[in-house]
């Protein structure tokens, strides 16, 4: 059922694990976005900027366990991002995905 939100794991992950997954999703988007050759350096810098922000959250709250809703929100966002193949849309999502993840974690993007 491709349009069903992925259900959270039985035990929701920690913030550190959720951020690790988000960083992997962000890196994958960045690789696709680099297909827009005119924006290559922007994509590299954009991914780095959001990686720094996400890593700061993991450093501060890494051991904290997510709520089931937050875990589902992040898993759903990562699932959506994984479907993107267009470089321009991927660049947009290099900005959107971290914001969605941070919002789900209760952080200000």
């Amino acid at each position: 059922m491709p349009n069903e939100p992925p259900s959270a794991a039985i035990e929701p992950p920690t913030v550190a694990v959720a951020v690790e997954r988000a960083l992997a999703g962000l890196a994958a988007l960045g690789e696709i976005g680099e297909g827009d050759e005119d924006a290559w350096s922007y994509v590299v810098d954009l991914v780095a900027a959001w990686r720094t922000r996400l890593e700061a959250v993991a450093a501060a709250r890494g051991a904290e366990r997510l709520t089931a809703e937050a875990a589902t929100a992040i898993a759903t966002a990562l699932d959506e991002a994984s479907r993107i193949s267009d470089p321009y849309r991927a660049i947009d999502w290099c900005s959107t995905l971290p914001q969605v993840v941070l919002t789900a974690l209760g952080e200000v993007p």
Binding site: D45, E69, A73, A77, I84, D86, S95, T96, T103, P109
Partner: protein, 230 residues
């Protein structure tokens, strides 16, 4: 310095139809009241792959979760989601045009809350200076404090050309003794905009930035200079 209508061309005529689409007006009406998270929902859903609303509700539990007790807020989020998915459901080219038109219409709507001199798609002419080909998206034509806005869906859309055009307008106006406020409105996070701006060569010291974080402020006061924006 004076404002003028552009000479209509084929692109202008086609785009004018999209600007006049009721869906654009409805989106702008809803987003003018939106919270930061609702704006993010709109950004994500308008540029997503899937249009099943259940996916997006699951992605934003602070808007649609079981413990959201504020019925009015939930209804507003549902309306924003519905209109965003209607835009996303257009073909790729159409959705790009709709998104751009929404940002422009939203900017106009917010500015109208503090000025009755707001116009769309206007050129700015200076004596002895060749006119720019592309009109500015939104202007506030107050003779004492004119404002010029260029609108972008995402930070990727900011480029040297638009920054140069805005800065040129500001400098030429200053030469005529007029203090023009020039700004870019970007439907994206300030962090992403600053990354983009840092990689461009055009001057930005006299330009202001309105991002998702500061969009609502546009209705209350002119945006801050880029260097001073938080």
């Amino acid at each position: 310095m004076r404002f003028a209508d552009p000479v209509p061309d084929a692109r202008h005529v086609v785009y004018a139809r999209i600007q006049a689409d009721p869906l654009v007006a409805r989106a702008a009406e809803l987003l003018a009241e939106a919270t930061r998270t609702e704006l993010l929902l709109a950004r994500a859903a308008m540029n997503g792959e899937r249009t099943d609303p259940g996916i997006w509700r699951a992605m934003f539990p602070t808007l649609f979760g079981a413990d959201v007790a504020d019925a009015a807020a939930r209804d507003r989020a549902e309306a924003i989601l519905e209109v965003s998915l209607r835009i996303a459901d257009r073909g790729e080219q159409a959705r790009q045009q709709f998104r751009g038109a929404v940002v422009e219409a939203l900017t106009e709507r917010l500015l109208r809350r503090r000025s009755d001199r707001v116009r769309r798609e206007r050129r700015v002419l200076f004596d002895g200076v060749p006119a720019e080909i592309h009109p500015y998206d939104v202007t506030v034509e107050d003779p004492d404090r004119p404002e010029i806005y260029d609108c972008k869906w995402g930070a990727r859309g900011i480029d040297d050309d638009v920054l140069h055009q805005l800065d040129d307008a500001r400098r030429h106006a200053a030469e005529e003794g007029i203090a023009v406020l020039v700004a870019i409105v970007v439907f994206d996070a300030e962090r992403s905009c600053r990354v983009r701006l840092a990689g461009l060569r055009a001057p930005v010291a006299g330009t202001r930035l309105v991002s998702l974080e500061s969009l609502g402020e546009l209705a209350r006061r002119p945006p801050a200079l880029l260097a001073a924006a938080s």
